[in-house]
Symmetry: C2
Subunit: 612 residues, 2 copies
């Protein structure tokens, strides 16, 4: 029996926590792993709150119990949904996704749904060498001694700072040093053997969130994580406002740049403090971001990404000294920007391609990364089509009268059962607004419950929750129960805003599928990327046509793919170099100039989904 | 006759001024050229002050007149010495050297004795291009449009500053720009066609003087010159004191660095003001200097050049962004350091090799560049031997009780005729001290007049100019005629200091000649480099064995070779690249470890020259 236990390995997503060697139920394993899975009835199979989805399984799982059949629909069981308290993994390994409704704890930056392991081949290498001591009979200059000890020739480049520090380091170390190379550039010379202290940082610069992972470049391990809000949000929640602000003057551009770099520096400090490492020993930062974030962090005016013909300054992978943008890693360390695909398809899409591996599979994959501009990729090893759907900020909770970001107090899930509305909030705080996943649930539930039409109009203004204040509004949480001394509601205008957004998204994947010459249902696999993907109710997303209606088991919650893709590029020069070739196979589809766009878009706005 | 005139072209050195189309005497030509030649008797052939040396002649010159034969010795006439007021160039072209004693005017930075013309092939190129305007159907990013317009590929590098400025420049110029390349690096993108505004600066960073030449890199012309004192002199006249000071702390190193870079920046401003050009349009600075100056300007601690085994940090040609050391040319312009040969043989020696062309002739050439450490080169196209003679600062007027640099009021030449001492000072000011060329004259004249022995001892303390104050001293200028309210004198100790210096120099070329396997008299040509060379009295230098005793016409006054060599490297990438190969043929001879050095040195201290 103990042998059987040893062969069991369960990873809980989005927390990314793994448990081995245990014979308990998934709920017990989850509790041992200290994840955020609810277990309100104590594992008695009564409350049904511990509903989870087995997304990958290489082994055997126990059959569904009677209690599970009571709480779950047949389709759900087929899609891998189980009650954690009733389920045991009998052998092998599996990945279990915990949907938002089944989570309790304060949400943390999630781990990765996809594997980021690659053979280690970083741009940064540290080499411990003992150059020959200078003697009277051997007049080679210091840098030549160093080159000779590395068996390097003229291809070795060095900045002046490293050269000017070299004579003292060579002598104070007793000719015993560790050299750091970034490709063929000498970035640091340190006393003694510090070859194990070799780190890099991967950063996902999102419009609203910045995520840093500190990676040990000798072992490949992620040793610390830190994340923070993108403070540019003060100058506009959406990227368009930031483009406008940054384009007003060089000072304002500089302002937005330093807001981001300042935050990155704080996060680097935090990650270093947490892991007991020194920023001096971080030699490269690889970052991803959409085109606007990419330009802003590099201090490039993003103005021309924002106006027709929407041309970025640069799309290729570029590297510059970190000090050029004031990033506080090793003074001669480098920053590397993952390439962009075009003005609307940023480096995060490239990171998605890299980590999902859709560029090397024969399966036809759809990858959706929802944001203000949602990135949609469809393809396989032969070709990848990419488009950007201007879905607007409603998926992020903005431009909706009671909308808010996914932070404490946001209504993140909604259910209408027998006419009764139930909701849950992040951190179980009093509701302060509705975030993206809550809006999806709300609209889908309103539709499923027959309260709104396919075009988002209220069927019956006499509904007890509908009030007319200027316009008709559906009350989600009344003033008395909310945390903001006001009703939390949606109007027809809000619903319309949302339907326009999802229409744009649907038109995007519909056009890509049409161009590929297949029906959306023929897609082999769908990757749902980003933190949004890990919190959304998939069934409701399908009801609203945010995703094509395919078998649930073909849907992969890809997690925080952007920072994961950046880590792959940080850890593997081979993968990084491969990007150029991969991106040649990516075809950018500008939706707005597509012949059928207007028609497809209009047809995509109404809800067409089955009432599940 | 007018045809004959047209074929005459005379260049006066060290001023570097050329006159064409004139039938006057050399004195009249010199006056027309506004040089500093004396003509005290108005060209009557009486005073003999207009004595000049014809150093190169490709044509015919008038025969010596009776008056010339009165003033000049036969050997002098054979060596090309003439009275300018009596001499006419009948045809062809010639170069005339004006010795210090024949000069009147305030001395200026001299022109070059040697040709610095090379086929133009600078590292910096400006190209006027019109990249294709961005359109909706053509989503190439800005940098790609630029690359395509240049037909450049991935080899084109660009700093972030250039990239970040690119979108605005492309659009405000109406897609009409001028690109500046430094090798394969994009250093600037400017609006419109500025391809003619392309400049570089060559700088000779001497221990005492800094010389800047502003060069038009489209025409090859030198368009402005500026020079100033090296303010590091506050921290020591000799390089050893500066090594000591700079090695005390990083702040003190920084201090010495910024003193030089600050002066260079002032000189750049001055040269730009004079020529009406903008420092923004200077894209490269090429500099030469001895090893210590080289390290100090780059901010590299020079400590280990100063202590055994005297190893520099770097000797190869290196280039860095100008902003790394705070040089105010174009923000992304480059600085390039001419390579060093070793700790004691600096980049000025390399510049000497480059401009003299001794690396490409079959003639065996000796090149002497006198300074605190005098550089001596002996060789031809096959091999060049280089050594550094620690001649001390006495040639520069230091470490001598009345010594001073070659500035206003310095006694620069001395003559003892029939027991009567005559001297001339720079700018004809009252004497304030004796500079290098004055000391050479003084010691040689004291020896020739029998006042000192070969070992520099006073023969007769009863000489009317010898007084004993602590030690015996020879009064050159009494308190009453000096400009410093004190006697200007030399003691036996001063003379000894000088003899040690010239002994070191002589031992240097003697050992090189011995290693080459020839007698010094067999040398085909001697180049005397630097401003010292243009002011020294050759006969006296030979009396004192500063130079081997060879035919005077084999001696070339090479002038300001250091800045000239830097200009060649600035103007020709081919020559610059050739340096690596040339320097492979340079063999550094460390005198102090030579077997015979001690013996040769001791034997070289006494004066052995003929009393001419």
């Amino acid at each position: 029996m103990s042998e059987e236990n040893h062969s069991v390995r369960v990873t809980f997503e989005p927390d990314g926590k793994t448990v081995e060697d245990s014979s308990g139920t998934l709920l017990e394993l989850a509790q041992a792993a200290n994840t955020s899975l609810r277990g309100d009835c104590g594992g008695a199979g009564v409350c049904g709150k511990c509903r989870v989805q087995i997304v990958k399984l290489y082994g055997e799982v126990s059959d569904p119990t009677e209690k599970e059949r009571d709480h779950l629909k047949d389709g759900e069981i087929a899609a891998g949904y189980r009650l954690a308290c009733q389920t045991k993994i009998l052998s092998g390994k599996c990945t279990v996704h915990i949907p938002p409704a089944s989570r309790t704890a304060k949400r943390e930056i999630s781990g990765l749904g996809l594997d980021e392991d690659v053979p280690l081949d970083p741009a940064v290498r540290k080499i411990h060498v003992k150059p020959e001591k200078a003697t009277f009979g051997d007049p080679r200059p210091d840098i030549q001694r160093l080159k000779d000890s590395l068996q390097a020739g003229d291809e070795l480049k060095f900045p002046l700072t490293v050269l000017s520090g070299l004579p003292a380091v060579l002598r104070s170390s007793g000719w015993n040093i560790t050299v750091t190379l970034w490709k063929d550039k000498l970035v640091s010379v340190e006393q003694g053997d510090t070859s194990k202290e070799c780190f890099g940082i991967a950063v996902d610069i999102g419009s609203s969130k910045i995520i840093c992972h500190l990676v040990n470049l000798v072992t490949g391990e992620t040793i610390a994580k830190a994340n923070g809000e993108n403070p540019q949000i003060m100058y506009g929640e959406d990227v368009v406002s930031r483009i406008t602000y940054a384009s007003k003057s060089p000072e304002k551009l500089k302002k937005l740049q330093s807001l981001v770099t300042g935050t990155i520096n704080s996060l680097i400090e935090e990650a270093c403090r947490e892991s007991g490492k020194s920023p001096e020993n971080i030699y490269e930062m690889v970052f991803v971001g959409n085109s606007v974030m990419h330009h802003l962090v590099l201090g490039i005016i993003p103005k021309y990404i924002g106006v027709a013909p929407f041309v970025p300054a640069v799309t290729d992978l570029v590297s510059f000294p970190a000090k050029d943008i004031g990033i506080n890693i090793n003074p001669d360390g480098m920053i590397t920007a993952i390439p962009l695909i075009g003005g609307f398809i940023g480096a995060d899409a490239v990171a998605n391609i890299l980590i999902s591996g859709i560029y090397e599979t024969d399966d036809l994959c759809l990858l959706i990364d929802i944001g203000t501009n949602s990135e949609i990729l469809l393809g396989n090893s032969k070709e990848i089509m990419a488009c950007s759907a201007p879905s607007g900020p409603s998926f992020e909770g903005a431009h909706i009268s009671s909308g808010m970001k996914a932070v404490s107090g946001a209504i993140e899930s909604v259910k209408i059962i027998d006419g009764k509305l139930l909701y849950s909030t992040i951190d179980d705080e009093k509701p302060r607004g509705i975030c993206g996943s809550g809006i999806i649930d709300l609209v889908a539930e309103l539709y499923t419950a027959g309260i709104i039409t396919r075009t988002g109009k209220f069927r019956n203004l006499d509904h007890p929750r509908i009030v007319v204040r200027d316009v008709p509004r559906f009350i989600v949480a009344g003033k008395e129960e909310s945390g903001i001394d006001n009703d939390i509601s949606v109007s027809e205008k809000d619903i319309n805003e949302f339907l326009l957004a999802k229409g744009s998204l649907k038109a995007g994947w519909k056009i890509l599928a049409k161009k590929w010459g297949i029906a959306p249902s023929e897609i082999d696999r769908i990757y749902l990327a980003g933190s949004f993907g890990t919190h959304v109710n998939i069934d409701n997303a399908i009801v609203l046509d945010i995703l094509p209606d395919i078998d649930r088991e073909k849907i992969v919650f890809a997690g925080e793919t952007a920072v994961g893709g950046a880590k792959i590029a940080l850890k593997s020069l081979e993968k990084r170099n491969e990007l150029k070739e991969i991106l040649k196979r990516v075809k950018y589809v500008e939706l707005s100039i597509e012949h059928s766009f207007q028609k497809d878009y209009l047809a995509s706005i109404p809800i067409s989904g089955r009432k599940s």
